[in-house]
Symmetry: C2
Subunit: 378 residues, 2 copies
Amino acid sequence: MLDTLTIPCLNTISVVRYTAYDCINWLLLIFFMNKRRNSPRTASVTMKDVAKLAGVSQSTVSRIISNSPSPVPIGDETVRRVKEVIAQLGYFPNLAARSLRAQKTYLIAIMIADISNPLYHTVVRTVQDIARQHGYDVLVANTDQNYENEKHFCEAMMRRPVDGIVMVPYHLTDIEIGNLIDRTGVCVVALASHLHHHEVDRVFSDDGGATYETINWLNATKSHQRIAFIGVPENYPPGMRRHQAYRQAMHEAGLEILPGYEQQGDFTVASGETAMRALLELPERPTAVFVCNDLMAIGANLVARAMNYRIPEDVAIVGFDNIPEGTYIRPMLTTIAQFPKEFGMQLANALFERIEGTETGPGRSFQIPLQRIEREST
Amino acid sequence: MLDTLTIPCLNTISVVRYTAYDCINWLLLIFFMNKRRNSPRTASVTMKDVAKLAGVSQSTVSRIISNSPSPVPIGDETVRRVKEVIAQLGYFPNLAARSLRAQKTYLIAIMIADISNPLYHTVVRTVQDIARQHGYDVLVANTDQNYENEKHFCEAMMRRPVDGIVMVPYHLTDIEIGNLIDRTGVCVVALASHLHHHEVDRVFSDDGGATYETINWLNATKSHQRIAFIGVPENYPPGMRRHQAYRQAMHEAGLEILPGYEQQGDFTVASGETAMRALLELPERPTAVFVCNDLMAIGANLVARAMNYRIPEDVAIVGFDNIPEGTYIRPMLTTIAQFPKEFGMQLANALFERIEGTETGPGRSFQIPLQRIEREST
DNA sequence: ATGAAAGCGCTAACAT
DNA sequence: ATGTTAGCGCTTTCAT
């Protein structure tokens, strides 16, 4: 019978005295190591393997790896041995199995309009970072602010259970979201002010108010009378709110909205260019233009300068969002700053409070302030 | 015994003749509908529910919903009835259970440096779109080109099985990736040219060659002699390749690299500003600067103009990537275009060919061309 | 053409 | 302090 054995450990070669028992274990180890080579897929090492090698039952292993404060105490020696085997085998618990059993997936999903939009990817990034701190993976879906895609997302969430959802819904209704919650028990937080489901935390900012106030500022402080508007599609809430705020502010200031002063784009630089060109070709050119997002405002800047208008002398431009690109152009863009990092933090924190059960009350509202940043374009 | 019954269907009220059998089913239906209301979590309707309501066995339901060409035929009437019940109950198969059993997750993961980087989010977006067409969800992880995070990602993939991985590895080695593949049987494709694992498809572009050629062009066609370089960290392959290509081109053209001509940034606009300022304060100012990414090139542009140098008369700037922002600044940036959409498409298509078994051969290489776009900054 | 039954890898209630 | 057992919801033989 072998008495002294050299076994290769992870980085070291250790020579120790081994008993016959250890010897059998070693053989088992080799067997398990080969296991993954031989069977093609599903070759991962399981808890059963660990248990067998450590000479304990599966449940003991389960108790040891479960990070929850174990309801029952476990022997120090057992813990040591099991942990050693886990390290030897390089065992990782299988999350698919765990989530099936424990109804816990350690997965959250985030539904946004478009990951390429500078405003949203900061939100996504922040949520991802916080999720990681909590040990969660993040599934990302884009909707391109399209209703079909939003509904498709909900269906995807019905079949793939996740623990939480961060969403930026443009069209989804309280009923649809409620249905999703009822069916899956998932926690939901939304970046939207038009939702009122009693279990959904929402974060939003008062974009209508900021629009209203900025139009006033353009008029009262900056002495503009002919103020035009480049909006975003109105079949989604922010688009409508900002447009109405514009109209109300103009009306209350006794300012006329001349024909053609209300343009609409689709969030892109190109659409901002088109809209601005239309505005500048008007018989009564506006002296200021309020643009509903920075990307379109950049397009407006580009066109105005290409047409040899001076900014802000001939035409002032105000954007919305405060994306970094606004500081790359000249003159630098005056804008209403959103704080996507704040959005992401509030969203993620609220979500994990619910997932982890710290918060169980009715849906909360978090308003994130907006801030006008005056740069060179006004 | 009831004979005629009014039951609420999805959107219609239908009045039909019902048998006693149907009546019982109806009661069962109500029971299942309530099920989700009552038990808080895990309240989703399962295949068992469908089976019971349709009066068939669970396996029959499974056969019907499995979209694979069923190995055995099923009665038309049975199919009809089951499908009806599925619709009534709004049943969706649970993917956690399915993946546990079938070793198939319908999930892919994508590991990138940073979703906020304009180059990468296009890759992510493209991969997401293609994944969706194949019925897959996408998990996104950022590494910030940090080795620890890359390793963390691999561990995450060990515990959460996915069917495929798209990665942009900066530090991961063939061995580590091989280990991941052996342990999980996952399919991997990478955006990298320095990897050579025999099961990994890789897509890449010849950035070293493009750098070399562009330095030559700056010298031969644009008559620059004092050409400086703003690089990215060299502990990752592209950084090193481009720097070496710069040195080689300079050397072969008989051009001297003056002290201070080799700056290094960290991909950000701010770091480009710092590097450019250092360059412009040099006693022998360069007349052209090759910048390793557009974001830093934008920083260089901003600083040069702020210091009242004319571009390209006093100093020419070439960037790398061709992100949209390069066309927002003035003068517009000359750059070497990468094609992130192409990257994403090749990556995703290659991955799904492997996942779906269309391709089983050794790792393939796909080279995506690069293209110099001359705009106003040279 | 359909049903019964055995697990996939794990957790947790229940026994010792 | 540790083992036994019963599933989570599904797929897939193997029977019938």
